[in-house]
C-alpha cells in the first residue's frame, strides 16, 4: 500500500483550528449582520442539475464548472454560485412566504479557475437577496446590508466604496445609438472590460457600435447619465447616513448575463483587489428557472471569503477586530481540571461532567501526568482557571492561570463558583 502521502487538491483548503476560527468569524459576522437587517437564512444543495447553470448564466462561468455524470447518468455540477438555486427554491416555495422575501445564505461554491491570490477553486460565499420587490428601495436595502457588513468587519469610511450602476442607463444609451439587443450586449461587454482592455482595441470595438471611447467615457462621467433608480438608491442611502460609502459609477455593468437593471460592486478604496462583493437586479431569472411558472422580481449580492480576508489582513483596524475575536474564541476551554491524585480521578470526572453541563468549557488530562505537566497542558488550551482535584478532596484548589492567584473551594460549590467567575466582566472565553 506504499505511495505518496495525500494532499489537499489544488485550490482547495484545509481549515486547521485557527483557519476554521477565522472562517467562523466571517460566518458569524455575516450571519449576525444579515439577521439584524431582518434577513432569514436558507440553504440550497451543493450539487445541482447542470442545466440550471447553463440556462441562466452562460459565458465564462460555464467553462469553470465542476461538472460530471453521476452514477444515475445525470449531468450534475457542484454549484458555482447560489442565485440559480435560490431562484429555483423561491419559485417552488414563494407562495408560503410574505413578500418581500429577505433571504440570506452562507456556504461553499466551486469554480475550476487558476488558483491565485483572492481566488480558489472552492470559496465560501455570503448571499443576500430580496425577492418580490421590484423597486429601488430593495436595491438600497441590499447596498445598506453590504455597507453594514463591511462596518461589522471593522472597516471604516475610506477603506471601501460601493459603486452603483444601472444597466438601464446603457440600454438608453444603446437605444439612442440605434443598437439592437446583440449589439447592446456587445456594448455592455466592452464597458465591463474597459479598464482591462487595450484602449485602442476598445475604441475600435466601440466605433464599430457607432460610438467611441471619448463618448463612452463622457457618458460615464456625466452625473446626468445616472438612472432614476440609481438616484433613488443614493437618496435612500443618504437618509441612512451612508452617502460617504457609495457613489454612482456607470462603468460597473457586471459580467453575468442575467442582470436586468441596477448592479453594484464593493471595492477596496485603492481598487488594488478584485471586487469584495457584487450584485444587482435579476428580475427575469425566477421566470427563466421555473419555465415561466413564477415571475418574481429579485435582486441580491454575494461576498466571497478570499478577497475580504486579504483586505482584513491589509487593514490594521479590521485585523485588530479579528484578532480580538480570535483571542476570545480560540481557547479550547475556560477551566482545566488538574488531577493531582490519581485516586481522585473518578471525583475529577464527575466534576468535569458537572462543569460541562453547567455550560463551562472544561478539559482535563485523559491519562496520568505529573501536576506541572498538567498545568502546562492547561496553559496550552488557553484556559483561564485550573481546578486542582487532589487528596484534600472535597477541598479543591482553584488557580487563576494568568496571575497564579490561588484559593480554596469546596467541590459542592465549585460549579456555581466557576460559572459565576466565567460570567464576570471579562466574560466567558467560550460562548454557549
Amino acid at each position: 500500500m506504499a505511495g505518496p502521502a495525500f494532499q489537499a487538491l489544488p485550490g482547495f483548503r484545509d481549515f486547521t483550528p485557527r483557519e476554521c476560527a477565522i472562517r467562523n468569524y466571517l460566518f458569524e459576522t455575516w450571519r449576525s449582520t444579515a439577521r439584524r437587517a431582518g434577513f432569514v437564512e436558507y440553504e440550497t444543495p451543493l450539487v445541482e442539475d447542470t442545466g440550471l447553470y447553463l440556462k441562466k448564466s452562460g459565458g465564462e462561468l460555464s467553462k469553470q464548472l465542476f461538472r460530471f455524470i453521476d452514477q444515475g447518468g445525470r449531468d450534475v455540477t457542484l454549484r458555482p454560485e447560489v442565485t440559480a438555486s435560490l431562484a429555483r427554491l423561491a419559485g417552488e416555495h414563494q407562495r408560503q412566504h410574505a413578500k418581500p422575501m429577505k433571504w440570506f445564505e452562507i456556504g461553499p461554491c466551486f469554480r475550476y479557475e487558476k488558483p491565485q491570490k483572492g481566488r480558489g477553486r472552492e470559496f465560501l460565499q455570503f448571499n443576500a437577496d430580496i425577492l418580490g420587490e421590484a423597486g429601488p428601495a430593495a436595491d438600497a436595502e441590499l447596498v445598506a446590508l453590504a455597507v453594514e457588513t463591511m462596518l461589522a468587519l471593522g472597516f471604516l469610511e475610506g477603506d471601501f466604496v460601493v459603486r452603483i450602476s444601472d444597466r438601464h442607463a446603457w440600454t438608453a444609451f444603446a437605444t439612442d445609438h440605434g443598437l439592437d439587443a446583440d449589439r447592446t450586449a456587445e456594448l455592455l461587454e466592452v464597458v465591463d472590460k474597459l479598464d482591462r482592455m487595450d484602449a485602442i482595441a476598445a475604441d475600435s470595438r466601440l466605433k464599430a457600435l457607432g460610438t467611441g471611447m471619448d463618448e463612452v467615457r463622457a457618458f460615464i462621467a456625466d452625473p446626468a447619465s445616472a438612472s432614476p433608480a440609481c438616484r433613488s438608491i443614493l437618496a435612500d442611502l443618504a437618509a441612512r447616513g451612508m452617502d460617504t460609502f457609495v457613489q454612482a459609477d456607470l462603468s460597473i455593468v457586471r459580467g453575468l448575463a442575467y442582470y436586468t437593471g441596477v448592479v453594484f460592486e464593493v471595492f477596496d478604496a485603492r481598487h488594488s483587489m478584485r471586487a469584495i462583493a457584487g450584485g444587482g437586479r435579476y428580475d427575469s431569472l425566477v421566470a427563466t428557472v421555473t419555465d415561466g411558472a413564477v415571475d418574481l422580481p429579485a435582486a441580491g449580492f454575494a461576498m466571497g471569503d478570499h478577497v475580504i480576508r486579504n483586505l482584513i489582513e491589509e487593514t490594521p483596524h479590521a485585523l485588530m477586530r479579528l484578532e480580538v475575536w480570535l483571542m476570545r474564541h480560540t481557547p479550547a476551554c475556560d477551566v482545566y481540571v488538574v488531577v493531582a491524585d490519581e485516586l481522585m480521578r473518578a471525583e475529577a470526572l464527575s466534576l468535569v461532567t458537572r462543569l460541562r453541563r453547567a455550560g463551562v468549557a472544561t478539559d482535563f488530562a485523559l491519562v496520568h501526568a505529573k501536576v506541572p505537566r498538567q498545568f502546562q497542558l492547561a496553559e496550552r488550551t488557553g484556559a483561564r482557571f485550573a481546578l486542582v482535584v487532589g487528596s484534600e478532596f472535597p477541598q479543591l484548589k482553584l488557580k487563576v492561570l494568568s496571575s497564579r492567584a490561588e484559593e480554596s473551594v469546596d467541590a459542592a460549590q465549585a460549579v456555581e463558583w466557576i460559572t459565576e467567575r466565567v460570567s464576570q466582566p471579562d466574560g466567558p472565553l467560550i460562548a454557549g
Copy 2:
C-alpha cells in the same frame, strides 16, 4: 429556452428558512456541546483525491462515491466521510498541536445511495475525534461527548443507548479458533450482519470458520468476553454518572475496515432506526494516509443529521426543545418600524440604521403601504415591537405586538429604550 422547471436532485435537500433553522439547531447544539468538552473545530475540503477513500475504507463505501475526473484530469470524489481527510490533515499539522488533539467538525458529506427515510445522498455530519492518545480514556471521553450531545438535544435516560464493543475481543476469539487474518475478517463480517442475516446461513458460515451460532451468541452474552478496554471505558463512564446510557455489546463491530479496537454505536432505545452515531478507534489510519510518515493513535465518532432528526420528531420532549428553540430563533426581527407618514421615510431609515447598529434585528416596509398592512407585515415577521414613525416625529409610538400595549417614546431615546426592552427577562428573540 422552454423546458421543464428545475428541481433539486434526488437525495438532495432544499433548506427553506424553517428547515435551515432546524439545521442550525443541530449545528449549534453539536458545536456548543463539543466546545464545552474542550474540542476545537476544523474543516476539510469537500472534494478530495479519490485515492484517499479507496486506500482506507474499501468495501461498500467505494461503490457509493460521487467520483469524477476534474478539468485537470484528476480523479476526485465528493467526500463520503471526513475521517480520511482528518487523518491527512492531522498528519500534516500534528507537530503544531499539543496531544491529545481533541478536534470536531460539522459539514456535508455525499454518498450515492438509494434515498429513503434516514438516508439521503447528501447529509450533514458531526465528527469528533481524539488524536494522539491510545488509551481507553480517549474512547470514554468520546462516548461521554456522544451522551452529552444526546442530552443537549433533549433526550433522556431510556431514549437511547450506547453499545460499546472491542474488535480485540473478536481477535482473541479468532486466535482461540486458529483463524488467520482473512478468516478473522470474515468472522467480523458475519458478526456485523448477524441481526440482518438468515440464521441458518449465518450458522453455516460460522461453522466453516470452526465455530457456530450458539458459540458466537454465548460469547456475545458472556460478560467475561468484554475486553479490558471495554471495562475501563464503562468504569470511566460510571464515574461520570453515565452508566445508565451505556452497555457492552460485542455484536457491534462496525462495517468499515479501518477500525482497530474499541467501536461503539448509539441507537434509539427501541432500535427501530439505523444507528444515530457510530465510531471507534482507528490507530493505523494516519500512518496509512501519510504513507508511514506520521503514526498517531486515533479514535472518533460521527453523527449524521437524518436519523437524529427522525428521532427528535418521534420523541415528544426532544421535539419540544426544538420547538422552543425555533420560537426564539425563527422570527425575522425584534422590531418592525412602521412608516405612518411617507414624508418621514428618511427619519425612519435613519432610525432603522441606528437600531440595527445597536444589535436590534429590525425590519420595515420597503415601499409605501397603509398602516394596518404594515402591522400585518410586522406580525408575519414575528416582531415583538412595532415602532411607529409618523407626523408627530420625533415623538414615536411603540406598540407591544402581543398585547397591543402602547406608549410614546422620543426618537433620540428610542434605541436605548428598545435595546433595554429586548434584553429583558424574556430576552432578545434574535441572538447576536
